[in-house]
């Protein structure tokens, strides 16, 4: 049994939503990074502080029901909606707001944007 800790993730400059509490568990240990170009510093910081496992979802497969959260660098239309729709806490490093066909799934309790590593704090 791994020991996990919680973090609070707040919106950054120009961002929207949150704050979210990210709490990995044995069922959901994965800090999924869906950004391309490796593990984003925001995902790495969440993993470092919580004890969760940072994971590059473009390199290998991870089921969304194993994700403690999804870190995305979405420009505002697709990824912003898909992960909240799947019930995954979603952290966008770009300052986006709900938009697009999936906007109805993007809610303050599931989504936060404009996040930089400094917006991730220990609880």
């Amino acid at each position: 049994m791994a020991e996990y800790r919680k973090v609070k993730v707040s919106k950054g400059s120009g961002g929207w939503g949150g704050p979210l509490t990210i709490a990995p568990s044995d069922d959901r240990p994965i800090i999924a990074c869906i950004t391309g170009g490796g593990i984003h510093p925001v995902a790495q910081r969440i993993a470092d502080l919580t004890g969760g496992e940072a994971f590059d979802a473009f390199k290998s497969t991870v089921k969304f029901d194993r994700m403690a959260c999804a870190v995305i660098d979405c420009g505002g239309t697709a990824r912003v909606g898909v992960y909240p729709m799947k019930g995954v806490m979603t952290i966008d490093v770009h300052p986006t707001s709900p938009a697009g066909p999936l906007a109805r799934f993007i809610t303050e309790d599931k989504f936060v944007s404009g996040v930089k590593p400094d917006n991730v704090e220990e609880v």
Binding site: G36, A57, C74, G75, T77, A78, Y83
Partner: protein
């Protein structure tokens, strides 16, 4: 053949179940192969064989019989395209990108894509 330089050429591999929901809103969502399954559900997954340079206003996206002129390119759109084969094309007639990932284009229909269809992006120039 289309005049101008081919910047990007790709072939459709699969079309997600929810891609139609985006298409009916005038939005084409592309992702390159290897995209996680939950994103493939909402997108057109493709395999690019030519990727030279990023998108710029004035470029033309050719899918099926439609020639779609690019009007505006968001700040992260080209980064998305080169990193992930990810493109969000909106036929909204806007000349400024409202969202950083947006590529805005002339208004008009977005053809439904099927596996095997080609996606070509052509830069203006040459004999037109």
């Amino acid at each position: 053949m289309t005049a101008g330089q081919v910047k990007y050429h790709s072939v459709v591999v699969s079309v997600g179940e929810m891609a139609e929901e985006f298409r009916s809103a005038g939005i084409l969502v592309l992702f390159g192969e290897g995209v996680p399954e939950e994103l493939a559900d909402v997108s057109v997954v493709h395999r690019a064989d030519t990727t030279t340079g990023g998108l710029a206003p004035g470029d033309v996206v050719v899918i099926r019989d439609e020639r779609i002129e690019v009007l505006a390119v968001g700040d992260v759109a080209n980064e998305n395209l080169s990193n992930l084969g990810h493109l969000v094309l909106k036929r909204n007639g806007e000349t400024a990108a409202a969202l950083p990932g947006d590529v805005c284009a002339t208004e008009g229909p977005l053809p439904a894509l099927v596996p095997g269809d080609e996606i070509t992006i052509v830069a203006p120039g040459g004999s037109r």
